[in-house]
Assembly symmetry: C2
Homo-oligomer: 350 residues x 2
């Protein structure tokens, strides 16, 4: 059975969780997956670079302490040499999970481009490269006979893009509505329970749901990128980030929240898109007062959900975690499974 | 691209809906699916048998009026000759959607057995053959290099079995809870709104949600078969129907329903199974008072849902229709897509 060589670009929470999974269960080929995973390179801003085409023991890499670096290992260095590792290592798959600027998509976008141009499959959790350069990267992947996968950019490991491409094939998806940001959903839930927005945000920060600067979560820009990615993938659109109209919850009136609760429903920050009869797509992010029996009204706390509207099945809704290091690492694994599917379908059994 | 020959066993609502779909969009290979579908045989208790290995025009078959039969067509007969058609037609795939006795699994079980023994793939919507003879039929299919698929036996076309095998691969599913019967869920919803059970059942019958004899829906036996099928597929069990403990809602006290509503929650008929540390599986059907924030508490009306408990993602919940002729026909299409996947993965591209 196949063992894939992988390069981990960025060794923060998500790629560390993937390394743990590989160590615990996926280094050898399993019957469940049909393949094994071997780490041949790791780069990280703090830790430097470690490349070893014979394989890196995940346990050793994970044990490097804060403040340390990879320099002591054969093939290791304190320098961060992403470009060389991505272009020259023996990796079949580049797993990109750096911190990335959502406006420029960098440095993730360059990592993705280098990998695809070098004929390596890419799995990324970063929204920026997908939202900003999706068409270019899909074309690059096609041109080089490899896959560009990004399940983790939407609902972490909860299947959203892959639900559609794997388990809803043959359906015509006409639109979707989603709760695509756990922080804002948690804040709205606490406001529904009577807290002020300021107190709800503070609680979210204390619980680790919200960043010190919650602007991207509350203002809707995080959701907007996910709406754009979903609309392009699921509805066949070619939207740019600017095509999504965005209204966040930062100015939401507590009275409006109470009013929705009193009516038996809830205000939710809904990211949605619909394909019109002429093929155009309307995409938006805005707070919506949902009736109590709406499929998304009862999605609580940090849980995320998407209701897909389809021609043959009506509405199919999936909900699950939308964040978390292990949950997002599972998205990377799901991407690798899809890469393996594609390889096997192309006849490359081994 | 591939065109599959299919035999439709039973030409009631579901297989008629599939014939309509084939006529409207799937007779020629499409880019979305990569294959086309050609009906080469139809059998039906009322209409008799029509076999034509050159292909049957779905529109012509669908136009046969009530009280008529297939005798006038070349290869047609007023006799119902399931065994010959299943064994001798040129069908690659036998689509089994007859009315079937849930206690014996017949006549569907014989149809499935004949087809698999003849080296034909099977897609069925019937729970009986899966629940009663699942291990035998899976083995038979393996022995003959074909697939035995039955997505429609659980949530009609809403992906449940295939969600797990396609989009949750690599996860360890530790258990599930589901609302697996739309009739009983509708009745419970109406009781929550203040109706008596008798009035709620009458309304369900008027809306076509409930049979004249609602025993299987309210008593839990329909849910029990689905729990058994899911437990065996998703948790790797080998349960028989008798291994599922069953308590229906037929004797449920209206006061208990009101009490759950007053507490902000709901009573739901929950089909559930859990794998224990020793590998044994507890499986049950019973009314459960759910808190308002439970993932299944807000599933309304005839909608079905399953919450899968997993090791890496926590709980992932899917909801959608659990019945309907077009919805169930989509389950057959999803089965055929899985059959095609397996063929292509085995290297049989064409």
């Amino acid at each position: 059975m196949q063992t894939y060589n992988i390069a981990l670009i960025g060794f923060g929470g998500v790629n560390r969780a993937l390394a743990e999974l590989i160590q615990e269960r996926f280094s050898e080929p399993t019957e469940a997956l049909g393949f094994g995973l071997r780490i041949v390179a790791i780069t990280d801003l703090q830790l430097g670079t470690w490349q070893n085409d014979d394989g890196i023991d995940p346990a050793v890499a994970l044990a490097v302490e804060r403040g340390g670096n990879f320099a002591a290992f054969p093939g290791g260095s304190a320098d961060v040499d992403n470009e060389r590792v991505i272009k020259e290592s023996s990796a079949d798959i580049v797993v990109e999970a750096t911190f990335t600027n959502p406006t420029t998509g960098e440095p993730a976008a360059s990592h993705v481009r280098w990998a695809l141009e070098a004929g390596k499959h890419v799995s990324t959790t970063n929204k920026g490269p997908v939202a900003l350069f999706g068409p270019e990267f899909r074309q690059l992947a096609d041109d080089h006979g490899v896959r560009f996968e990004y399940e983790g950019s939407v609902l972490s490991g909860t299947p959203s893009l892959k639900l559609v491409t794997q388990s809803l094939r043959g359906l015509n998806i006409t639109g979707f509505e989603g709760i695509l940001n756990g922080t804002s959903n948690f804040v709205l839930g606490q406001m529904a329970a009577g807290l002020s927005m300021a107190d709800a945000v503070r609680e979210a920060q204390e619980l680790g749901y919200a960043e010190a600067d919650p602007t991207a979560d509350l203002g809707g820009s995080d959701v907007a990128l996910k709406v754009q990615i979903l609309a392009n993938d699921v509805l066949g659109g070619s939207l740019t980030p600017a095509d999504v109209s965005v209204q966040g919850i930062q100015d939401l009136d507590a009275a409006a929240v109470s009013e929705a609760v009193a009516a038996g429903g809830a205000i939710k920050l809904i990211g949605a898109a619909t394909r019109n009869a002429d093929g155009s797509i309307d995409a938006s992010v805005r707070p919506v007062a949902l009736a109590g029996d709406h499929a998304l009204a009862s999605i609580q706390g940090a849980t995320n959900a998407i209701a897909f509207h389809t021609d043959l099945l009506g509405t199919v809704t999936i909900s699950g975690p939308g964040a978390g290091r292990i949950e997002t690492a599972y998205a990377l694994l799901a991407d690798i499974i899809a890469i393996d599917d594609a390889r096997r379908l192309a006849g490359g059994t081994s």
